[in-house]
């Protein structure tokens, strides 16, 4: 299990993974992963299906415990001091969760209350997010009637409602129309400019290429590449797209050399 004496006291580091390993029986899903994401950074976490991305996210948000190593969020160890850590993050899974029998607005009120957002801040944030995500027409309907894209908008709005220091989004663009996708990218960038950290996983490499400050590529549980897009290009020893780099690094015969 994780060494609970590990100190994650540096509040400037938004997400701090230290030699994190996670096993499921004989399978090593995440292998000795160390990663530090400072505040103000937009980090894109890439990898093929089953590489360990979602397992890593679940450890960051506290749903899974590392078999070895430790996870810190904003200076709090997730295993020891989870509550203040969770108060500072927001997580949007790839399959958005909503209460079917609440309206979108009722769900946003509920989330605001959970995060102790004041009524004035809540109303202002909801008004702003409703306009940005173009949600006014359906926010009063029960969420069970929403399309995937509508659900994604409400869940993203709920995640942003309490102004989290760390935003973690698994496949943020799935189901979103181009206008909303652009809004979401803009919001991610704005958040990092205001000192927040954004951690996304995506298979849409153009998104990572366009907005990420740094990119990490995980393959078979190991972090095989980490750096800016230029760093990765340098490592690949030629100018090429992120897609080419990704395919080159994750092809079965590739020797990682890290």
């Amino acid at each position: 299990m994780a060494d609970e004496t590990d100190a994650h006291t540096d509040g400037a580091v938004a997400i701090d993974l230290r030699q994190v390993t996670r096993r499921f029986g004989d399978k090593v899903a995440v292998n000795d992963l160390s990663l530090s994401i400072p505040r103000g950074e937009l980090f894109a976490f890439l990898g093929p299906n089953g590489a360990g991305k979602t397992t890593t996210i679940k450890m960051i948000v506290g749903l899974l415990r590392p078999t070895a190593g430790s996870v810190g969020v904003c200076g709090h160890c997730m295993s020891v001091d989870g509550l203040p850590a969770r108060a500072q993050l927001a997580y949007v899974p790839d399959q958005p969760f909503l209460y079917d029998k609440l309206t979108g607005l009722e769900f946003l009120y509920f989330v605001a209350e959970m995060y102790r957002v004041s009524d004035a801040d809540r109303d202002r944030a909801i008004a702003e997010l409703t306009a940005r995500f173009d949600m006014a027409e359906f926010l009063d309907h029960l969420t069970e009637t929403y399309s995937h894209g509508m659900k994604q908008k409400v869940v993203l709005a709920a995640a942003l409602l309490h102004d989290p220091a760390v935003l973690i989004v698994d496949e943020p663009m799935v189901g979103l129309d181009p206008r909303t996708a652009r809004q979401v990218k803009n919001i991610f960038v704005e958040r990092t400019r205001h000192g927040g950290a954004v951690f996304i996983t995506t298979h849409t490499l153009e998104v990572a290429e366009a907005v990420a400050d740094r990119i990490g590529i995980i393959h078979e549980g190991r972090l095989i590449a980490l750096g800016t897009l230029d760093d990765l290009r340098t490592r690949a020893r030629r100018q090429q797209s992120l897609e080419d780099i990704f395919l080159q690094l994750t092809e079965p015969e590739h020797e990682w050399g890290v």
Binding site: G62, L63, A87, Y99, L102, M114, D121
Partner: protein, 566 residues
């Protein structure tokens, strides 16, 4: 945008916030149901009233019987209550365990809440209260008719009724707490593939526990002159001071006789234990929640299955009479059904109970009852089989077409007629239904030593009922599908599902009435061994009626499916 929060001191909200949201959702749900399908509400109220009336009549008869003999009543009433609450304790523990497991370990909601700044104790406490809320059906369905039946026997109904409700409410959390800890244990220690099997194992265990208790009653027949001593000795476990059920049994007994001090003593004993056990279950589960959640969401069992080719061959043999394309879909449905113990275990429990009852029937010595009883028992058997079958087809067969929704484009492109899809569903439903229901009725005819010709009539009418019920469920399922819904329970409880349930129950009632009328006429005219022409015409009429109901629904479903755009 606000500045990003820097606060590290966070006071989490309590259960009230979550309960308010759930209350809001419940109100919205009630409004939506009322607005969308008032028929469903009326049907539900009608069924509940019907069950209430039936239970009230049953309890009333039992207490009337006991009142006739004070000595028997003095011994039997505490025993009846004892059995009732022991059975309730076992069944509620089991159902609460399933509810708690599904609520805490297999739904997205718990994972969502646990990523929010909430204490795990808050999440578990809310889930526990939710489970208790859903298990309160026992109070509404079973408790109220029992209370009203007993209240008529007591001289102080104004004292008895509030005390009874208080006893019932203070009792319900005890199996709830046991269920919560059982769910945690299952998630924490059982390998994942075993977990579903454990549901079946627990079901059978619960069943055996209840049957074990009930079987002791039959000892009356075997123990000659000392039967009462032996019987009371064997029944002693029901009144064990350690069983919560015995506290409320004794408390209710005191309340019935307006002995308020001892009644309140038992009430306080129950309340104290309920509060302690609830606290213990919530704290124990919450403080150990993450390892269990971890294992539940990621554990991998190693249960080996037959290779697809081998199992396909074996299951394909069951549908030897079907064309290849239809057989493929029927095999797929049967394989899916057999791999989900939550589905087959429910049918296994119901027909298992039926089988145990039938095997124990010789002990009832029906032949020594009046001839009317001897006539009534086969009718009751057929009624039980028919209603269980209607439940099965409404819950599991009706959603089959809707569940193809996401693959409908694939079905639409397959080189097969769409009607073949429905016939495949029908073949699958018939296979399961005929095996269990005709099998149960065959056992009943053997046990009751029914003459051959009437045994054939029983089995033919049961088969025709299978055709009717399966046809109704598949046909109405295709006529009123919910292609966007993946949850079978929601499909079954939607408007189409309600229509199908009402139609299925109506069909069983009509067939039962027709069958009963024919049997009664045979009894009146002494035709038990050689039915006359009119009887045969009546039998054919009932069979044609049942089959036509199913086939009409199938035709309606095929027509609608052919019109649908993929």
């Amino acid at each position: 945008m606000n500045g990003v929060s820097e606060s590290t001191v966070f006071e989490p909200v309590g259960v009230a916030t979550l309960l308010r949201a759930k209350g809001r959702a419940l109100v919205n749900h009630g409004r939506a149901v009322l607005a969308e399908s008032p028929v469903k509400v009326l049907a539900t109220i009608g069924f509940v009233l019907l069950i209430w009336a039936g239970l009230y009549g049953l309890f009333r008869e039992v207490f009337y019987l006991f009142e006739a003999n004070h000595l028997v009543g003095a011994v039997a009433i505490p025993l009846v209550f004892g059995f009732f609450f022991v059975a309730l304790l076992v069944l509620l523990t089991f159902s609460n365990a399933i509810l708690a497991y599904s609520s805490l370990f297999s739904r997205d909601e718990a994972a969502y809440l646990l990523t929010a700044p909430l204490s795990p104790r808050t999440v578990v406490a809310v889930k526990y209260l939710e489970v208790l809320f859903f298990s309160s059906w026992s109070l509404i369905l079973l408790g109220l008719p029992l209370m009203l039946a007993v209240a008529r026997s007591t001289g102080e109904p104004r004292v008895f009724c509030p005390l009874f409700v208080a006893f019932f409410l203070s009792f319900v959390p005890i199996p709830g707490a046991a269920g919560l800890i059982t769910a945690w244990f299952t998630a924490r220690f059982l390998p994942r593939n075993l977990r579903k099997s454990a549901v079946a194992v627990l079901s059978v265990g619960a069943l055996i526990a209840v049957v074990w208790g009930l079987r002791a009653i039959h000892l009356i027949e075997d123990e000659g002159g000392n039967w009462l001593d032996t019987f009371l000795f064997r029944m002693d476990f029901v009144q064990s001071a350690l069983l919560p059920s015995s506290w409320i049994t004794k408390g209710i007994d005191h309340a019935m006789h307006a002995r308020l001090h001892p009644a309140f003593m038992y009430l306080l004993l129950t309340v104290a234990n309920t509060l302690f056990l609830s606290w213990l279950a919530v704290v124990f589960t919450a403080d150990r929640l993450f390892p269990a959640l971890d294992r539940a969401s990621t554990g991998r069992g190693g249960a080996a299955r037959l290779p697809a080719k081998a199992s396909g061959g074996a299951l394909g043999a069951v549908f030897f009479y079907l064309p290849r394309s239809v057989k493929l879909i029927a095999v797929k449905d049967l394989r899916t059904y057999l791999r989900d113990p939550l589905q087959w275990s429910q049918l296994a429990i119901l027909f298992g109970l039926m089988g145990l009852y039938l095997l124990n029937m010789p002990r009832f010595q029906v032949e020594f009852f009046s001839e009317r009883w001897a006539l009534l028992v086969p009718m009751l058997n057929f009624g039980a089989v028919g209603f269980i079958l209607a439940t099965f087809t409404s819950r599991f067969v009706f959603p089959l077409v809707s569940l193809e929704g996401h693959q409908f484009w694939l079905i639409g492109l397959l080189p097969m007629e769409r009607r073949d899809l429905l016939w495949a569903k029908f073949a699958f439903a018939m296979t399961v239904s005929v095996v269990v229901s005709v099998g149960a009725m065959a056992l009943a005819t053997i046990v009751l030593k029914i003459v051959f010709v009437w045994a054939v009539v029983h089995l033919a009418i049961t088969f025709a009922t299978c055709v009717g019920l399966c046809g109704l469920s598949v046909g109405i399922g295709a006529r009123m599908p919910m292609f966007k819904q993946r949850n079978t329970a929601r499909i079954a409880s939607g408007f189409g599902g309600t229509v199908n349930l009402i139609a299925s129950v109506a069909l069983v009632i009509v067939v039962l009435a027709g069958f009963g009328a024919l049997s009664w006429r045979a009894y009146e005219k002494q035709l038990q061994t050689s039915p006359d022409v009119f009887t045969w015409l009546g039998v054919v009429g009932v069979i044609v009626l049942a089959c036509s109901a199913g086939m009409s629904a199938m035709r309606m479903g095929v027509t609608h499916l052919n019109r649908l755009e993929a």
